[in-house]
Each structure stands twice: as C-alpha cells, then as structure tokens.
Symmetry: D2
C-alpha cells in the first residue's frame, strides 16, 4: 500500500481527493494538511465524512514527511517549494494547481503574475493528461495536473487538430462550469440567491486557463494557435460542458471526423465517444472520471462542433490526479476510478 | 379600454400573457381559450392565479368574436386560419407562434414542414421586433412575434452587422435557455430529476429558429448569411443568454463597436447596454421586458463577443407581444411593461 | 405623492422595498441609505436595477431628513435611535427589523440580548400584521413589521385559536424558508454548492422568532401558550411554507374549521383560503403579497394541519411593510401591491 | 459470485440497483427486465451507463430463471406472482415495492386496494429493516424492503419508543423528499418549471406509507399507535429528511435520550448519530447508505425532536435492498455499500 498525502485537503479539490482516495484499494492516506483548519478533523469541515474519514488536518511538512505520493491542491504560486522538497526526498508530487502546467515561464508570468523558482523542476514536470501524454507521464515524478476547462477542451479537439481536419484559426470555445469550480471560498457570485436561477459568462476572453488550452491544442496542431475562450457559471454543483467550434478543412466530412475520434479514443476507458445522434451532457458523467464526447457537423457552415462533458471535480481535478498517480505507481490506470455515474 | 383575447392561454406563453395583461392599465381581457382545458378556469390549471384571475377557458371562436386584439400562443401551423378570421373582421392579430415570422415560404416548408395558406396575409404580416422594425410595425394588423432565441440574437448582433463592423461568415451563436422555453408539455428531458443538475446542448445546428435568426441578421448585414446556432438547456425556469461570436473586420476597434451600440440603443427603453466591465446575465432581466447586452473584445483573436440576456417568457414571448400591441394601439410602448427585475 | 426613504437599502429586504416602491403609484422614493455602500448607486450593488432605479446610497440621517415615511431594514438593535428621530419630527417609521415586534422587554432581552432605550416608543409602536391588528395600526406612527416566519404562522393558526377550536398545548410549527431569508451576507450555509441539493433544519427549537410567534398566537388564544418551532432551509430563493399542527378540541369537525377560516379571511384580499382538495405551495405566491392557506384534517389522530405559504421577501417583509404604509397614509391597502404571482 | 437479477430495472429504484450492483464485489448481474423497454439496452434509457453497463432488458421470467437473488422494483400489486415463482424454485426474493411490507392484509386492502394472493408467502416474508429486525431477516428468503419515508422515521423514533421515553400519542412526522421519490414517470408536479423553486406538502395525512410507519413504531412501542404523517416535495433530486416530534414522558431528560440512541446505534455502521450541536441534513448522506440522526430537545414544551436524513434511493431503496441481500447471502453487511458521501 502506497502512502499518499494531501496538502490543501479542505478546499473542494482536496476534499474530493480525500473522498476518492479513501476508497482506493491500493493506497493509504498517510496525512492531510490544511492551513485554515490545522488541528481540526476534516469531518468537522465536511460532516459528510463523519464517522469513518476523520483525519486530522496537519501541516504541509507533516504530509511530505509521511507520504510517498504528495498531492497539492493549493492556489497557484504555493506548490513550487513543496515540489522542491518532494524532489529532494524522492517523492512523487502531483500538483492540482497551476504552477506546473505551462511550459513557458513567460506565459506563467503574464497570466499568473509569478515566476519559476526551480527551473529544473519545470524541466522535469510533465502535463498530466494521460489520454494525450501517457508516454511522457510514465516514469516521471512531478505532474502538473490539468485544469478543468483545459481537460474538457483538449480531449474535445485534439484528434481533429492532430489530423489537420480543422482550421487552427477561428476556434471558439464556449464552456460552462458548475459552481464548485470556483471553490469553497465565499463570494457574492457563489451566494445561493445570486447563483441560483442565474447564468452568466465571466472573465470573457481573459480566463487564466487560456494559455494552458492553447498550449495543448498547439501541440496537437503542430503550430502555435490562439483560441477564443469564454467560460460561464452554471447553477449546478458539478460538471463542465464545453461546446467547441472549429472550421472544417476543405473536403473533410463527418465520416472522416468520426473515424479520427474512434481511432483516438477506442482504447481509452475514460473517454466515451457517443454514437451519432446522442449529445454529451453533464448528468451522464457526474461523480465519474469519464469524459463524454459527441460530434456534430453543421453542414450549412462547414463547422465541426464537439461537445465534451466531464465532472470538474473528478476528471477535471481529483480523479485525473489519481489516474496520474496510478500510472506513476504502475497500477492499472482505472484502479479506484471505476465509478458508474448515477442516472440522476 | 381595448378588448384583448388570448388563444392557447393555458400553455406557458399564453399564461404569461394572461399574467401581464391582467395588470395592463388600458386593456381588458375579454376572453381566453384552451383546447385542453375548455370550460375550466385558468386558475385551475395555474393556481397562482386563484381568486382574482379566474377566467373560463372558451373556444378560439369566442376569443376572436369578443376581442379587438387577438393573441395566439399555439404550435406552428395553427395560426393561419385564425389570422384569416381576424383579417376579415378587422381585428389585430399577434401570433406568438412561428407561422408569420419567415418571409420565405420555402424556408417555412423546409424547417416547419408547412405551407402558407393565405399568401396575402403573409404579405401583410410584419416581424414584430420593435427595436429593429418599429416603423414597419406601426399601422399593421398582423404581427409575427419573434422567437425567444432570435430576439436575443438579433438585438445582440444587428448593430455590428448593419455597420459592417464584423464578418458575415463564421458567426457562432451559443445560446442557453431555461426549461420554460420547452413549454408545459411533459417530456423526459424536462422531468425534474433529469433536468436538474444537468446541462446539455440539443438540436445542435438544426434548431428551427435558425432561418429566423438568419433572416434578421441578413437584413441587418445587407447580404444573405448563414450562422452556426447551438441551443442548450439550462436548469433554470426562465431566461435566455446568448453568447454571440463574430470576427471583427479589419481596423474596427472596441471604441467604435461601443459607439455603434450606444447609437443603436440609446433611445430604446428595453435594451440596456451595460457599461464596460459588466457582463449580461439572466438574473438581472428575469420577469422584465429588458434585453441586457454586454460587449467584449477578444484582442488576441480579433473577435467581437456580444452577450445578451432576456427573460424568454417576457421579451422572448408575452412581453414583446404586448410591446407590439402597444405600438399598434398607439399607446406608449412601455405601457404595462415597466417591470423592475427583482434582485434575487 | 408621499416621500419615502429606506434605511438599509442594500440588504435583501431593503432592495425588495426599493423594487416595490419604485412601482408604487402614490409615493416617491426620496432617499435611500446603506452603511456598506454609501456613495454608490444601488444599481452597482444590484445591477438588475440598472438604468432606471439608480439611487445613490446616502446616510440614515439623509433619509430621515428627506422622507415623510421611513422604512428601516436593519439588524436588530439599530432601529430604536432612528425611531426616536422620526418620532421627534413627526415622521412615520416602519421597522422591518425586530426592535418593535415584542411587547415584552424581558423577552427582547432574553432572545435578542438588547434593551428598550425608549419605552414610550414601544408603548406607541404596534405590531403591523394588518389582517389581525388592522384597527390598532390605523393612526399609528411606529410599526414593528412582523417577521417572515411569524407572519406565515399567525395567519395560519389565529382563526382556530380565536375560536378555541384547537388545543393550546402541543402546537408544532414546522417551517421551511428560502435562502434569501438569511440575507445578502455570505455564509458557508448559503454558499451555492452547500445549499443547493441540500435541506436542513437549523436553530431547532431555538429560533428568535419563537417569542414573536407565541405573542401573536397567545393573543389569539387568549392565554399564554408555548409552541415548538423548527425552521428549515430550503434550496430555493424565495418563499416560506409553514406546516402547522394543532390538536382539534373535542367535537370540532372539518366543516366548522372551514367556516371559521372563511369568516376570518373572506374580506382579506391578501389571504387566499384554498378550496378543499388543494394544498398551499410556495410557487403560487412567489413575487406576490398573498398568503395562501390550506386546511387539512387528520381524522385518524384528530389533528388540524394548516399549511400556509408566503413570499418571505414580500408578505414576509417588504410587501407587508408597504401594506402597513398604505394603511397609515389612508390609501387603499392594496395600492402598489396587486401582483399576479407568476405561474412559473 | 452470486447471480442477481433485477425486475423493473428501468424505473429509478431499478436503475439505482443496477448502478450499485455493478460495483458489488461478490455478485454478478445475470439479467435485468423492463416491460417498457424490453429488448433495449438499459444504457439507451440511462445513457450515464453507456459503455460498461449495457445490459439488455429482458422479461421478468428471464430474470427469475437466470438469478439466485431476484430484486423487484415494481408498482404495488405486481410482485406477488414473482415471489411465488421464486419461492417454488428456492430463490431469494427482495421486493422494493409495497406488497410484502404490511403484516395486516386488511391494511393492505385499505391503503393499496389489493389482496394477498399467497398468504403463506406473507407468513414467511420479513420486513427488511436490518437495524431493527436483523435477527428476523437472517435465513429468510422473502424480504419486503421498507419504503423510503418509513425507513427514515423508524430509525428516528424506535429507540425512544422502545424505551417508553416518549408518549405514543401526538407523534407528528413532517417529512420532505426529493423528486426521484416519485419515480421516472412524467407528471405535471415533477415538470421542472413547476417543481423547481417550489415546495409543497402532498397527500397530507393520507400517504400510503402511513400504515407501514405505524406498524414499525407500534412494534417498537409495544402498543398500537397512530401518527400524523405529512410528506412534502423538495426541489432536489435525492434525499429524505424527516423531522419527528414526540412528547417526552415525565422525567426523561436529554442525557437519557442521548444514551438510548447511542446504545441502539453504536454497533450500526449505517446509522450515524450526530454529536450534540450538529443537525442532520440531506447533503451529508447523498449517494450513501447512511442514515444520519440528530437529537434535539425543546425544553420549553417538553418535546423530543429527532431529525433523520437518508438518500431515498440508497438507504431508502436500492442500498437497503443490497444490505438485506448481504445478510441473506452471509456476506458482511456493508459489502459493496461503503460509499463516502460527497461533500458537495
């Protein structure tokens, strides 16, 4: 049994990690930490855990010391020191924050206003989206776990871009996320009477996930591309749905598109390519590590529309982090992640 | 006091007409009808009306006979006969369905699988979107009241298209609607446990509102254009939010765009152009006849993003129908429609 | 046109007062105040008001000076000084907080931990539940506007208690409120992901509205009685539904109960006694000043069950405050309050 | 691996059984049936199951033939024939419907308007609430799986009644259920725009679960008792919360009550007695087989208030059915049921 630890366990992503790791058959939670609730039981913060998941919140140092695998679910800028400690002591480090996602320090500076304190760690770190970068992940010890929006979009568009089936200009990404995406911290936007029965875009064409999205799509396309990305806040707890629009290249038809995606994902347990006539939706992936993808062609305008849906807290955060851990530990990738999404 | 009647009063659009017309200061509801509930009180169908709005549902014939202004809120294909009767007897007819919205009978055939029984009525009918076609509406007696999605989109993009500020190709319209948009009829999609905590596109690039949207945008642009339109179902009762994407033409900047919209809407009570930095959302227009519009520029890709929000049952249906009635009756256009949208 | 002012206009009850008073035909809003947002437009706090309801938030002193009628929507303990100022200058004062609701200073001390600074004002103040105390309200100048839960419960049980039709012991009041009842202030309980898809009692048998409820029911019964009151938090924005249980006295039957309530409320516009077979619910009163009441008899146990529903922000706060103002100004009681509750 | 089958697999309770049994480590789903969807994949009805849970819906006969354990999730009146077939062939039969819950055929006639076709089967059948009747369940082959409301109430009040700590008269049970409780069938009440933002009692003091509740509470009390039971419809998908009121007997204090419950449930994995100061709520038990219970005393009126919360589809239906199966198969009772309820 590998010993795992969670730094930042009382945020939403951290709490979801706790929930999933408790049920993982081949790891043990060795320690968890929280700055805000140090010394308290996590079940005092999340009483749904009461009675059988009553870990005490300790310090980040405790977690690093006691664990073979360290997960960090922290605001950006706070993971680099912890990564360095893990590197020194040979521990696996999986960062659910943004510090190890971007190849380019310039982009990190521009969008996150920070810098790379340990460039050699960034050299070593790999972007942990297994369906696209599995071979690079294997054997690594520092993982930048992808953002929620970028996961949904990268899986939606990579096959078409890799095959040069769509134009790299004019890509429009209209994404919608549940409120847990904004975390446990209180905001007026997340106050029930103002989020409920509401729907709104936010950070229009200026969200920090933009460079991460472009990084992955550019790798797929083989050229640097820019996208228009608009996130929206949905009045649901969980889930991200991205509606992705790209111009079909000349001569590409629906059959070709479908074959591209079938080839790309036929061996991927966690990507479900829906049959023609079905449409991806949030309900069908909730509480699971699946990414559902549906393909649609607008013949009238020559546009490929790919709809992808994930649970933002699972495939978009904690589940994908565990998927990465499974790879690094040499476990079957689906271990502890074979959830059947509830029908309602 | 003008006498008004509502045919199809027990559907959602019909019931909303009843609610708004009861409070209108210069008209009286003379009769309402319903095929499903003939002989019953509308307050038996909608007990929120109990005690002071207890009209008996009669036949369509009764409504036409007793009213000076006839509203019809019927499935498509069922309004033309009623329009003909109104025309014969000199009554005003305002159709909330789709029968009088499209100029082209071919498009009506293609998308609605019907035909125009009284071509002369279609000659006379005008598309009732007052902010864009007010001068054509004045003095008419048959109005095709716009669809909900088309209203939100036409108001969002017409100023930019009229001024040739954006490209007519590659327009992407990503719209999201509350569940009332699908009406009172029971469907699995609208069953609470399946709509709640869910979000999904539907009729991707194949919704019947597409030709209506293209008709208005083409008129604005002065050329026939096609759009990619994807509607989504939101887990809220009311509201439509459309996120509209168009490529900026060479040299057009944010300042110019803002001035175009200010000019277009400065005299329009029901269109609220939001100041820079604010974003349109559903909450702020609910239960009102407002259309809120916010303008956003993605400098990195040269894209104009216009976000518009309406209450689908008010500005998207019953409220706009009354706005049209006010014009036809020579009343101030805002009569009976000056609702303050609740803060929560 | 009477000049009205609102102190505490940026809380939820204050904002609802603004919304309703803007549309009131015979008063003008002279000034509003807010400690948190002094100098800002209320439409910056609530953008739903943008464009036509853009009052600047000033100080409480400004409001008192400029208004004939002063509404205060403040936390308890903060209204007494303002009431004193209003009394000195002969202005009407309507307090939406708790400072003037309880006859007994001892109970105020026990439940609110405060004291009565101006006993003579409390002598003059009257509890503003018009359907029960109209004759006492007329001609007064200080009103303690009832709490939301107490309004729903007092209207539900007073007729049965006045007629000695039910036992004064063993009354159980199981109430459920929407999240706006807890106000605009941010709390973990009101954070969308924790309130949504949740339901919970709170302050079980210890809520501050208990003495207010008992005061009114005791007056109705003619004896001092105690009740068991348990409020619950509902995942909706607006509305309170109270399910009230009382033992029928010997020999009292359903017909007698129904007649009692018909007699009590037949002349009351804002109380809708539902016909046998119907059940009060939140949907049918939302955005209105109605209190819907349904009567049910459990023959197997001899229990009267009265269900009452109000909009907590209207009949439970701002609407009732305006109803009181109308009485004090000699206006028809329904002026500005004849909202048709929407069907959805 | 035991072979299990599900009759009525496409209703909500049946689909939840499929979801939970797919992950059960020591049983295999041998067959499922559905009258409405015979010949279709269950994943066509519930696309959340797509790709890894694609059972074909067959006939009830197929299920009985292929299974060692047969679950039936059918409308009442339809399980007796299937039970008889199972009895003949020595199979275990677990009925999620109402046919085997009531000891008294008279009560079944009165409330369900049916009769007992095989009295000997009813002799053999046992009411499957393991925490209260475990010793009777062991070794049996026909189980009447309890209703959702009765489960929440029986666990809430049995300890107090068994110890004669509360009066058997005047028990008030105010229960609130999510919309899945009403099943997959379409109704106006369950239509999203009418259920959302609404809350209402229904079947006030006349719900069919009343005799089942009274049967269990009477057994606990040792005398026949009647209760007042009022169910309400909550705008959430899952969960039941029951607020249960009973008069404390003379001299019984909070400490005694708490000790009674601690003794009753200290060995029960699935009942979580919350510490003083906490309140049971729906969020903390969703997607789990837990029943959370909190105890509250109203000292002012001498009333015990017990709040219990379950997931209506798990502990209130499918989860409890599997718990019963585990007992009958001699498995640890928690096998396949150790879900950590998500924090959000």
């Amino acid at each position: 049994m590998a010993k795992v630890g969670i730094i930042g366990a009382t945020g939403y992503a951290g709490a979801e990690l706790v929930r999933l790791l408790v049920s993982h058959p081949t790891v043990d939670i060795a320690a968890i930490s929280s700055v805000s609730f140090e010394g308290k039981l996590i079940s005092e913060v999340y009483p749904s855990f009461f009675g059988f998941c009553d870990y005490i919140c300790r310090t980040a140092e405790d977690v690093v010391e006691k664990s073979d695998v360290v997960f960090a679910a922290l605001p950006h800028g706070m993971s680099q020191e912890i990564a360095a400690e893990c590197a020194e002591t040979g521990k696996i480090f999986i960062d659910l924050g943004a510090d190890f996602r971007l190849d380019s320090e310039d982009e990190y500076k521009e969008w996150y206003n920070g810098e790379y304190s340990y460039p050699e760690l960034h050299e070593e770190a790999v972007y942990g989206l297994p369906e696209l970068f599995r071979s690079e992940i294997e054997g690594k010890r520092i993982i930048g776990n992808p953002g929620c929006y970028p996961t949904s979009i990268a899986l939606a568009l990579s096959p078409a871009l890799k095959a040069h089936a769509v134009n790299t200009e004019g890509i429009i990404l209209d994404s919608k996320s549940g409120v847990t995406g904004a975390g446990r911290g209180l905001t007026q936007t997340g106050h029930f009477p103002e989020a409920n029965e509401n729907f709104s875009p936010y950070k229009v064409a200026s969200h920090r996930h933009t460079p991460e999205i472009e990084q992955t799509l550019s790798k797929a396309a083989g050229v640097k591309l820019n996208v228009t990305f608009v996130p929206h806040l949905l009045p649901v707890n969980r889930g991200i749905l991205s509606t992705c629009y790209a111009k079909l290249n000349y001569g590409v038809d629906e059959q070709q598109i479908r074959e591209l995606y079938e080839r790309a994902y036929k061996a991927e347990y966690f990507v479900r390519l829906l049959p023609k006539g079905q449409t991806a939706c949030i309900r069908n992936v909730k509480f699971s590590n699946f990414c559902d993808i549906s393909l649609h062609i607008d013949e009238r305008t020559g546009t490929l529309i790919v709809v992808s849906a994930i649970d933002n807290m699972v495939k978009g955060a904690a589940g994908q982090a565990i998927q990465n851990m499974n790879i690094l530990l040499g476990l079957p990738e689906t271990t502890g992640l074979e959830f059947v999404p509830p029908a309602f």
